[in-house]
Amino acid sequence: MSLLGKKFKGIEAFDQAANRTYQLLPSRFAALDDGRYLLSNEVGEYLVVDRKHLESYVKKQVPHDTDFYYDLKSKHFLFDDDSNVAIDLLALKYRTKAQRIAQFTALHLFVVSLRCDYSCQYCQVSRQTDDKVAFDMSEETADKALDLVFRSPSPAIKIEFQGGEPLLNFNLIQYIVKEARWRNLVHQRDLQFVITSNLSFLSDEVLSFCQEHNIQLSTSLDGPESLHNSNRPRPGKNSYQLTVDGIQKAQNFLGRDKIGALMTTTERSLSQVKAIIDTYLENNLDCIFLRPLSPYGFAIKNQQAQKYDVDRWFEFYKEGLDYILEINRQGHTFVEVYTQLIVNKLLSPFGQGYVDLQSPAGAAISAIVYNYDGDVYASDEARMLAEMGDKKFRLGNVHTESYEDIWLSDVLLDTLESSLSESLPMCSDCGFLPYCGTDPVYHYATQGDVVGNKALSGFCSKNMKIFKYVIRLLESDSDARDILLSWVRS
């Protein structure tokens, strides 16, 4: 009995879906754990439901006047005759999510030298001794590469200097930064620079230059001294000390936000995730990226990658994430970067820039690599593959091929065409599709096929495990949920 005045009608009078039917909007589902399913729509909104609810949704038997019905309607899993604005909103959300594709290549990696003072076992690029000038990029090559950089329509351009050890060719870095900034007076992009370095050669001159041009530094820190030194051998056996000294120097000189560290996971890392995280805390770093060992370069040659499987790595990740959540509960904000990315993908209407989780793949359309010799590769992994002798993903050379030749090459277009999850077997109907992506180079490297059999894919297996784990945390652990959400607070 309505308490409203006589002039007013009850809610049933405003339900124009009087026949009580509804139509499904595009959606997918995947088993989450015993009895629960993730139901996601085309733009990544999701509900966690039990089997009974899932079945009633699919069979169009969800009764009106239930919260479940209106949850499904509100999150655009269904629409009924009462309203069709869902279609407009879905279109808008799809466009928002896909916007980055139109912006095109934002990250441009310059391999300014292949030389390195380290001799890491797992090194993902073929190392060269540090006296071979033949493995440095020339100014002429850099100029040609910059021509291509500024052909990209992206409003934001990030140039990342890689190696080898890029500071071994610091003169060229200085040349490229100045030349790019000069050219940018005309192009007016949001131009940023990153140097990825082991910091062995972090002189005051380098720091001053970084300061002057607002250049970010990125380094490698694998964990405690013994682990780091054994992962990253160099003459003098002092790589850990050099790295942490460099981190501190950069933090003091440039500011804490100007230096970040990445870790590589090796078999020896697996038993000491807490010690690795503590190393990051001790060095005043605000986040860690718990990365799996990639299957490229020397790593695959050494069969290192096969020494531990995804399950074992996942235990490492879980233990690490639990420890990190504990650190946050103790009142210190410390972020696991991959988890942060996944939470963002789950909750944000925007597409995320992370190259390895995109559909179509980020190869060349998000990031591109200019090798020291002018060869252009679809990704850093593609370059590593090439250093092992397989130039499958070489798109051309800056001296002989034009922008159009490279970005419209058959190699690239075929690869991208094979990288749309929406059309790939085992991806197209997966509930995690809106959060995932494809990695054609990975699947080519591990299975000899850019699409790959996802049942055998470490990429798929790893990401599914992480998605499920993160979603369960968000749904079942309000304490963890608050922490994870605080990481993505804008």
Binding site: K7, Y70, K73
Partner: protein, 383 residues
């Protein structure tokens, strides 16, 4: 409460006006004579009255004996009037409506009482009458408003129902008050027609925001609350059209018994679908009009929806949206989101309870609508 209209004004001399007279008040007796006919002179102490003003308001009781034509002793309730205020004087019965007060924290102008919705909690129940004089009055008032005024508001009824005059009013506000923010309330439904949104955008008002209510995250509930089929779709399309034309939009959610439970779902809906709106206001119920007659159906103590309120604020704030809580005393808002509360109630209808006298947060608190004092939250407690 401040009285904005009074009839017990007494003429002290013959009134020459035959039509209602809208003009600005001055207390400057030396105003050039040529200007005086379009001004109202306000006299707060017994001194000689300068000649030639369009109207003289006497705001004191002593009797001087000789008054120029068009002199009126104003009601005790209007003695707050000051220089720069704008009033409308009705010569036939001496009634005075206060149109603009320079010192007010908000100056809202009613464009029409007509509406195409019939919201169950409407504080200004619609009337289907010819009230086109309201727009004419406003067009006459806008040029008189002090140019340093922070903000003015257009309200209704449904403001867009005044047709082409709607655009003319925005244009007039821009022309005469280029430094004054303009806040317009609309149910947004008429902006489903892109051409209306484009006309608004074309005015290029420098600081315009359109406040549009969205009461639910799905059509049935919203349409029921506004008592109009298809309103949900029309309002959403209206918001999309306005933002497509880069007009600023505020979403206004009045919270009551019918919609408080899904407030967090509505927040998720807004954060996901309408992230680009410029402000979201979560508003306590104003117990007047239909809200008063339907109070049994609508009332929920704000204390009892505090969890939903906090969740909704957190969801939208986390998404980077600008969020405010309106019309809700600080003591019933969860502490972690109190900083989102605004002093949102217009000063003329803003009051406090006795309990509030001892409260250390009173200076920052919205307090109550005067008419809500009879039905405040049961949990009001001095902080």
């Amino acid at each position: 409460m401040i009285c904005l209209s009074a009839k017990d004004n007494h003429s002290l001399s013959p009134i020459s006006h035959t039509q209602p007279f809208i003009a600005k008040i001055t207390d400057n007796p030396h105003l050039p004579r040529a200007l005086r006919p379009q001004y109202i002179f306000l006299l707060t102490v017994a001194t000689a009255i300068p000649e030639g003003f369009g109207l003289v308001l006497v705001a004191h009781e002593s009797d001087e004996g000789i008054y120029p034509v068009n002199t009126v002793r104003i009601s005790q309730e209007l003695r707050y009037l000051k220089e720069h205020d704008v009033i409308k004087f009705y010569p036939e019965d001496g009634k005075i409506n206060v149109l603009y007060r320079k010192e007010a924290n908000a100056n809202s102008f009613l464009l029409t009482e007509r509406c195409n919705s019939f919201c169950i909690m409407c504080s200004q129940p619609p009337r289907d009458v010819d009230d086109s004089y309201l727009v004419d009055d406003l067009l006459a008032t806008i040029p008189l408003i002090h140019p340093e005024t922070h903000e003015i508001g257009f309200t209704g009824g449904e403001t867009t129902l005044v047709g082409d005059q709607f655009i003319r009013l925005i244009q007039s506000a821009k022309n005469h008050l280029p430094r004054t923010a303009l806040h317009i309330l609309s149910n947004g439904r008429n902006f489903q027609h892109l051409d209306l949104a484009m006309k608004v955008a074309k005015v290029k008002h420098p600081d315009l925001m359109i406040g549009i209510p969205l009461y639910a995250d799905y059509s049935q509930l919203h349409d029921f609350i506004v008592q109009a089929d298809n309103a949900f779709d029309e309002t959403l399309r209206g918001i999309l059209n306005l933002k497509r034309c880069q007009v600023k939009v505020e979403i206004r959610v009045v919270i009551h018994q019918e919609n408080y439970q899904r407030l967090p779902r509505l927040a998720e809906f807004i954060a996901r679908n309408l992230l680009f709106v410029d402000h979201v206001a979560l508003m306590g119920l104003e117990i007047i009009g239909f809200a008063k007659s339907n109070l049994n159906a609508l009332w929920i103590d704000p204390y009892n929806y505090r969890d939903e309120l906090k969740n909704a604020v957190d969801i939208m704030a986390r998404a980077g949206m600008r969020v405010s809580i309106y019309n809700t005393p600080l003591c019933v808002i969860p502490e972690s989101v109190r900083n989102y509360a605004a002093q949102s109630i217009s000063d003329w209808k803003n009051d406090y309870l006795d309990e509030c006298a001892n409260c250390s947060a009173r200076q920052q608190c919205s307090g109550f609508f005067s008419w809500n004092l009879r039905k405040p939250s049961q949990y009001i407690k001095a902080l």
